[in-house]
Amino acid sequence: MVEHPSIRLDGATLRLGGRTLWEDVSLTVRRGEFLAVLGPNGAGKTSLLRVLLGLQPLSRGQVQIDGHTPTRGSAAIGYVPQQRAFDPDLPVRGRDLVGFGLNGHRWGFSPPLRPPAEPVEDMLKLVGADGYADVPIGRLSGGEQQRLRIAQALVGSPRLLLCDEPLLSLDPNSQQAIVQLIAEWSRRGATVVFVTHDINPLRAVASRVLLLAGGRWAVGPIEWVLTSETLSRLYGAPVEVLHVQGRVVVLGAELGGHEPVPAVPVGDQ
């Protein structure tokens, strides 16, 4: 039996609003691989996740998830969206947020006072969020909210986990905790695509990095891609990559940042 790669992009090109975000990307991601995605503002990182989610069609080329064209709402994919602020008065608990990940998409209603679902409770414990699962989410710290987001994405036992800047605005301890949670899931056999503005927290876990910049792209192990030579070629300008006290520091180019998410799903138009 032939096992399909987790993700296959073949000559994938995406143009949005008359601008080419990336062109002719061909890439195979094996099952269980941890792929970090880096790139400057507007490089199309979130759009890449939307393509993988089946929310955004490619302008050209092909994309396959587990050997099939991605369909909207696939249960095989877990999604950690970009952080957004919740109103502190929003009457929604962490437990409810994780519950959405389990069955929020199904029609009908749950009996209102039914005891909480077992997978939700298990997942809350796994991410260490059971202690604050009844607190309204708007009153939790960024790190606590991200744990709940990860529990929400993992509760359906996805084979592919897509994370959009889950480390944004977290302190280094929370960053490491979140990275380790995701890395553990990856070691259990799930494929991870992790959009980030900082490669350093991922250096121990990311097997490869995909760099999107100005319509061009590069993929490979971190030490191959994040070099002065590769980055200078990608950006078309001199870029210096330094290793300072075990950290990768990039001078002369912006690796981080994030393009604004379109308010209306373009795929629906």
């Binding site: 062109e23 709402g73 999604y79 191959w224």
Partner: protein, 299 residues
């Protein structure tokens, strides 16, 4: 005094009022979760135009109300469901609706009585037929809400992930606007166009001060709406003051009380402390040796 309750008009008011309060209690939490107070007002005021138009044509105002707010819901849904755009779309439809309503009422011979009934409610004037219509609309709206309840909550609170999970968020926005139009039509009968928020915003607002449990919020919201409407009817029957006044007074009292005693006060201390970070997870690198490729791309 108790003999008043033997009159058909009082019994009909209680029946229609109870159905309306239950529907409003269920729909309200979604209105607050989706920040749709303005849409509620918009639907009610366009409903006002429809009711006024019906009066002018000699048709029952309720039919005009239902038709107009239902059409307005479709129009708002079609014009744009994005949060930012929704306010503008709602405002545009609303302003024109009220203008039309004023024209229709001015042209109508029974200007004052009808205007008063539509703007401030006329629950003590409902007929047997009105009760039947209220029941049919109420059951229909509740059934529709039950069908979309879970994905609608998902889409209202967490739209990005809901969309990724395949929830048809745009369709649900329109479906909810239609359910809301039905709830608004019913509530206008009880409290009138100008007091619509007293049934659709205040009870869920009070409920979510008392708890963050989704099931309990709905239960409290229904309970507060129902108690306020029935209590308002009782008081109105015995004092001859307007029902709308009493209903708004009761819901407001519930809101104040909930703010005072509820645990959901802004800035109140967190209930539980965060669990410690798990440090025992060991992470290994599985770096695959793949060649680096750089692809030139078009700009």
């Amino acid at each position: 005094m108790t003999s008043l309750w033997h009159y058909a008009f009082v019994q009909q008011a209680v029946q229609a009022g109870a159905i309306t309060a239950i529907l409003a209690g269920f729909v309200g939490p979604f209105v607050t979760a989706r920040n749709m107070s303005f849409s509620v007002h918009g639907l009610a005021e366009v409903g006002f135009a429809g009711a006024a138009g019906a009066v002018l044509l000699g048709l029952p105002p309720a039919a005009g109300l239902l038709t107009a707010s239902f059409s307005a819901a479709l129009a708002i849904g079609a014009l744009g469901v994005r949060l930012r755009e929704r306010d503008i779309a709602t405002g545009s439809v609303l302003a024109f609706g009220v203008g039309l309503g004023v024209l229709f009422l001015t042209l109508s011979p029974r200007y004052l009585t009808e205007a008063y009934a539509i703007l401030f409610g006329s629950i003590l004037a409902v007929s047997r037929q009105d009760v039947v219509r209220t029941a049919v609309v109420g059951v229909g709206a509740l059934a529709a809400l039950a069908l979309v309840y879970r994905p609608l909550r998902f889409a209202s609170i967490d739209p990005d992930v809901a969309e990724a999970r395949g929830v048809p968020t745009r369709l649900l926005s329109i479906v909810f606007l239609l359910i809301l139009a039905l709830a608004v039509t019913e509530a206008v009968q009880v409290v009138g166009v100008l007091l619509i928020l007293t049934l659709l915003i205040v009870p869920p607002g009070a409920a979510q001060r008392l708890t963050a449990h989704p099931g309990l919020i709905v239960a409290y919201s229904v309970l507060i709406a129902l108690t306020s409407v029935l209590g308002g009817l009782v008081c109105a029957v015995y004092t001859s003051w307007p029902v709308s006044f009493f209903v708004s007074a009761f819901t407001f009292a519930a809101y104040l009380a909930a703010r005072l005693v509820g645990p959901m006060l802004a800035g109140s201390p967190r209930v539980a402390a965060a669990a410690p970070v798990r440090e025992d997870v060991e992470v290994t690198s599985t770096a695959a040796a793949r060649p680096t490729r750089v692809h030139p791309g078009a700009h």
